[in-house]
Amino acid sequence: MEIGDFRLLAPEISLLGCVLLVILLDLFIKQKRILATVSIAGLIVSAGFTLVMWGTPPVVILSRTLAVDAFALFFKFLFLVVAALIILASQDYVNKFERFQGEYYALVLISAVGMMLLAAATDLIAIYVALELSGISLYVLVGFLKDQKSSEAGLKFLLLGAVASAVLLYGMTLVFGFTGRTCLMCIADFLQGMPATGILDNLALLLGLILLVAGFGFKIACFPFQMWVPDVYEGAPTPITAYLSVASKVAGFAVILRVFFVALGAPDWMSLNWGMLFAILSAITMTVGNIVAIVQSNIKRMLGYSSIAQAGYLLVGLATVGMATGSDTSGQSGLIFFLMSYAVTNLGAFIAVIAISNKIDSDAIDDYAGMGRQASLLAVALTFCLISLIGLPPTAGLIAKIYIFSGAVRHGLLWLVIVAVVNSCISAFYYLRVVKVMWLGVPPSKEKVPSSWALRTALAVCCLLVLLLGVVPGSFVSIAETATRFFGS
């Protein structure tokens, strides 16, 4: 074991150090705002390490359990940015819980460390440990408000998450049992050595792979595993809902990309099968998400179903990756660009919801009436993010959809793209209803909606990124293309 390996883990180690510092400081400091500052500082330091390492040749460290490649570094940076924005956006919200503010920041950071490791993990055991590290902190955070809804959400999330982990572990044991390896590159080698139809004869191995899809499917909330989303999103503290819907989902897609297209993507005919599996899941996921979202009256539930629908669009990217052959990475880069745009857009929408709901103390869409006059800037920001979620110009959502759908069409998934476009039209209905209520509704009072500078900064950053991704996507596309470089691909 090389000591030098740990140098390559600087982003994670520095962030973990920051977590320990936050926990210890929390015991002695009365002024809890300082903890938020320390957390942000830790995230910036970690992001700095990540940026410095960007562009270094890909390596695997610690006995082939973690990869340091462009793919991992990109996702690490994304998680750090999301965590920082979440902490900024929580500044108004944390006053709701008198106690345990330090724990709140520490848990957000710990789950960020878990997701960073998840994006880098190249070994089934490391993947599981990272998944649980981010998962367990999120279970606690979901139940953080300790009122009835929040506790129920936390318990539901814990139980369903535990079942999903069990399913995932069972899949992993089957894969390990029949390949004899836990590291993804070694599994790929083993599968390449198998006769071409070997995997279909080996039903147990196939079952293992399907259970892996189920386990990761819970994390990204794709079709048959999406039941937990509305209740958990509604009950959780709103910043944590945003965190779940953005970071946790992105982490799920990162790990699926790595597992399925490093370990299991080797024989061409097999990736083809995965492509079709993901394509069918994608069509069902987006339709279910969009149709159920129409009847929602609570904005957090609506955004929950909308995030299921967005997972459906993201799965179009996975299907494209499965369909593509050879060195064509347009599927991967499209997916990564979509993840980027989805992260900033959804985060922006949620931050605006945090600010508005904090004031009116309600998550009902009808109570948003007249927000256009009461809080013009927040309403503009929310409208902008919702437009981006539909995929209208001049926003990130449009470019992301064009990018991901054009890749899918090129690989013979025209039917899926037609389904997705029809779905986008359906989604316009419920997104625009919120916009209509905000701008055309009559406000119950003329009172302004206050928000802290921290929250406004976070919202401004999100909206600016949504605009930049939509207007000058060129440099972001090239980042996404660089980020498709896995170790071992």
Binding site: I3, L24, L27, S63, I125, G177, F190
Partner: protein, 139 residues
Amino acid sequence: MLYLRATFFVIGGPDYLLADFGYIGILLIIAVLFTVSTLLLPLTLALFGIVPKKSNPTKVSTYECGMETIGKTWVQFNFRYYFFAILFVAFDVLTVFLYPWAVNLKGLGVYGLAVIVVFFAILMVGYVYAWFKGALEWK
């Protein structure tokens, strides 16, 4: 991590591994046979009349050679025990890692010492946290 690494080298290939599963299969068969035969043994002996059939209330009672339960069995434990239970689990895990390290202290060298110190420090943060939050006091 050292143990992980060791695993990678020990497991040569799938055949090696399937043979290992074979041992588990044999153990499973022995376990089933043992259970079934111990259950069947008294029945068989009774069938051939080797053991006498003299039943009395003490003999057929559930705890023939144990203590009678006093009071209700659904006793509620004080929930404060859970702090101690959690702390115990944390330090139990620490011991699980300390023992193998202590046994191979020389072999693991400075690197092993550093890893254990870091691990210990992280757990200590948890201990300090529990202490300052008053989890160790019985109020």
